[in-house]
Symmetry: C2
Subunit: 191 residues, 2 copies
DNA sequence: CAGGATGTCTAGCGTTGCTAGACTGGGGCC
DNA sequence: GGCCCCAGTCTAGCAACGCTAGACATCCTG
């Protein structure tokens, strides 16, 4: 019962991750509308029902990709914040890193924030990577000051709005840096 | 050729609007995923191909609904702005009206800003209602001050971010008013 | 009154997410 | 060791999707 079933479990875990990365790659190269269960199954060289033995449905696969994305975003933001010498510059660095992430991996960003997912936000069972992302913004504000969470929410909203409106062509895609600078100067003074 | 074909044209225009309002009602009561060409056709009591004699495809129907929405949003914002006695209160009033609109008609807002549409933004052939919405924000800032457009873009982004993150449960849906106030105080001083 | 244009329909194509039922092969019990 | 059973995988198919071809009817024009 031991060795063989252990190997199977290992293989199963490996295949689980294989599905996630295949979905992500497919989405990043051809967009999420090209990610169908058939194409995904063909890509991982298994039949469709195998996908459903790993995930409850397509949404769950998207959620898994999104979760990976939140982990990477948290890393990305943390690195940017820690590389900044001063607190004010930290906020600016984190904001820029956020937009860089959003425009650099549009499909991943879409999975995290736009497509319907099963992920729980702002709740006790919120996955750790999601909290970590939010906390990176919170950390940019003065621990003594009140309303750090509020500041983080508003900043995050603004960045998300810029990212998605610009990606969809609702506002000119150029001039993102200018908008960030403008936003920061309004928020930095009251840190 | 006159009377009869005129009547037909009238009927055709009437049916055109009928399709749009049916799509909108269906979306507002059951969500956009319930708006299929079959159900829509059944609702307007015609067969599917009739829809395609009026619109290029489903996206075009969504776009038409969105365009109606932009007209209403522009009205809504203008009324809010004009009802405010002072410029600073005008910005606050417009922002609140915007979020009120977004949370009050979520399906309509989705058609305008999230679903894929054929509408052109920030371009010469941008429809008038879209420009009108943007201009309502611009009008809230000092005509002598520079960067009115930039301010409008950033404010709009922030509002959109709040609306969509809150609707999707990414940030707590309560406390929207607090966020708006917080945002305004950062932007009002430099009007 | 014939001919053509216009409008609407039925029927169907290809694709989607998802699932039931058959088949296979190794693990545990007598 | 031999039998049964369960986990895993597959083929095949369902209902619903957006969209369209081709047949039918209906009305204006010459």
């Amino acid at each position: 019962m031991s060795a063989i079933s252990e190997r199977r479990e290992r293989e199963r875990a490996h295949r689980h991750q294989l599905i996630i990365t295949a979905a992500r790659e497919l989405a990043e190269t051809e967009g999420w509308e090209a990610v169908t269960t058939r194409r995904l199954a063909e890509r991982v060289e298994y039949s469709q029902p195998v996908l459903y033995s790993h995930f409850a449905g397509k949404d769950a696969i998207v959620s898994a990709v999104a979760l990976d994305g939140f982990g990477e975003l948290a890393d990305h933001l943390r690195r940017a914040r820690q590389a900044a010498p001063e607190p004010e510059q930290a906020l600016r660095a984190v904001c820029r890193a956020y937009l860089e992430f959003a425009t650099g991996r549009p499909a991943l960003y879409q999975a995290m924030f736009i497509l319907p997912t099963d992920l729980k936000f702002a709740s006790p069972e919120t996955p750790a990577p999601l909290r970590a992302c939010f906390d990176e913004f919170v950390s940019c504000f003065d621990p003594d000051g009140e309303r750090r969470e509020l500041s983080a929410e508003v900043i995050w909203s603004a960045l998300h709005g810029m990212a998605v409106l610009s990606e969809g062509g609702r506002i000119p895609p150029g001039g993102q840096a200018e908008r960030v600078d403008f936003l920061i100067t309004r928020f930095a003074g009251v840190r």
